[in-house]
Symmetry: C2
Subunit: 349 residues, 2 copies
Amino acid sequence: MAPRAGRIRIAVDAMGSDHGPEPIVRGAIEALRDPERDFDLLLVGDEQRLWEILAELAPETLPLYVVHAREEVAMDEKAPRALRTKRGSSIAVSAGLVGAGRAQALVSAGNTGAVVATSLIQLGRMAGIQRPAIATTFPTSRGQCVLLDVGANADCKPLQLYQFGHMGRVFAQLLLGIENPRVGLLNIGEEPNKGSQLAQGAYQLLDQSRATLNFVGNVEGRDILAGRADVLVCDGFTGNVILKLAGSVATVGGRMVAQEIRRSPLLGLGALLMKPALSGLKRRFDYEEYGGALLLGTRGISIIGHGRSSPRAIANAIRVAVRAVRRDLEGEIARVLQVPEARPRVVAL
Amino acid sequence: MAPRAGRIRIAVDAMGSDHGPEPIVRGAIEALRDPERDFDLLLVGDEQRLWEILAELAPETLPLYVVHAREEVAMDEKAPRALRTKRGSSIAVSAGLVGAGRAQALVSAGNTGAVVATSLIQLGRMAGIQRPAIATTFPTSRGQCVLLDVGANADCKPLQLYQFGHMGRVFAQLLLGIENPRVGLLNIGEEPNKGSQLAQGAYQLLDQSRATLNFVGNVEGRDILAGRADVLVCDGFTGNVILKLAGSVATVGGRMVAQEIRRSPLLGLGALLMKPALSGLKRRFDYEEYGGALLLGTRGISIIGHGRSSPRAIANAIRVAVRAVRRDLEGEIARVLQVPEARPRVVAL
């Protein structure tokens, strides 16, 4: 991979998150105060509001530019409607900056559907990519796993899952630093001929690609958390369900532990002593803490933070964006999916 | 519903489980020693082996008959092959007893795929049922939830999901005693037009059926464990993945807690005091403890226990089988799906 030369610019959508622009601005400042920082930020949103917050928070000079956007997309707004009626939204302006080459990536903690739809339209798909996918990392007992798609495509075809495998592999290499990521296909059995028609077709294509992809075969539901793969591929319906289920486990599990605890004071004391371990566990299980998902397969990079992102989560998302640009995630995906060996011989189904 | 008159007979497949016939025979005896017992058992398997175990375990007379089967299906055997080559297996003989009317239900802790495939062939589908489905109960923070399909059908059509909703509702009413079960559709958004084509089509059909079905709409991954529905409907691919993921949570979660605990002796003391609560939690999350899934939509009832079923789990599975027969689960499903209001007006997709 060719490391990117020159100054990196990230567009940060400051509006539309659950707690307003302040945590976003704080996160941007936190990222910029890093002494080794080598990027500029374009903060997109209501100019007046942003300057007010900046005046309070950042007395010093930082490489931070404010770009005005006259409206914002609400969290509960439908994406197609927002696209149609709010062409001047902070999401649209941020994506426009990337589309026009004035920034290389955008970070938003706003409405996920609107960020994805706007990115698809304003940035466009990379050549040869059938469907961009949302990838996120997922804690396992052995580290982290890249899961995709987690919601951009409710219905998928085998070739799309195949491409997800390659895109996820590049994600794991460049952003998680895993040298030769093990790529698995989520399925309901171990043998190649198991599962839905989609899974069977995707297995074939991934299997043919072993020369360039460390395909480890089918991974069942019970093996997801055990970390049998570094990258796990599935359709966006299944991915979204398991991501949200896993994200809820810590909360609901905690409530269930509380129910058990009511039975005995000794349990209560134990719980008090255990609290740090359970919070640590909760953090590991709660995907919201990771605060970022990447849209893979578009021209330009979009990072979608959770609507309740803390300043720390935003700063992390900005760092991920910078790393993705510097290590040329997009170019690497293009290269990987365009070498002949990586092209499937049979386009099944 | 018309309660069933006359003596109930359950065929118990004693072979093919992970720990051999002994836990199965013990479970059968435990069920029969219930003073209010009003059923007979047909114990199916290697006659000689079964009599040896019985001679040791049950000196008294119990309404238990041994039916010889000359072979057994191994846990890792492929179902289609087993069907073809082992026509004298304990699974085939058990299903044959139900098919011939000599028993009303079968209980097996053997190879799930073989039990399902054999039941489908020997018992056949109920009239009007497109696809039988495997239903299992699932612990939530508010009680139990019936989840189906968990693996019989990796690819589904909307009408099948619609029928699963009605079958699951009858399961929750007759076996869990929930008067008016809330039926939800697993999906990746709350609005009716969200999700895959399958989910959108199923939503339409279930929505039209509100006169006879308490359809509560879409349920997202994050709401599964919170108990937003008493019955949750999905395709067998997604259902299998989430069931196995949830089943693994306690184990992997425990390993992660252990990792946290290594950091401090205070945490270790806390963990010791908390142990009973965590085991309780583990039991609630671990679907294997429930030891039974029901095949719904065939003529005659099949209950599939986990391969590692304990005697208690087998006794429970037998009790569930007896209840399903006595409360006429099969007849009720037929009635529910044959009344005109329960028939969808549009068969979409």
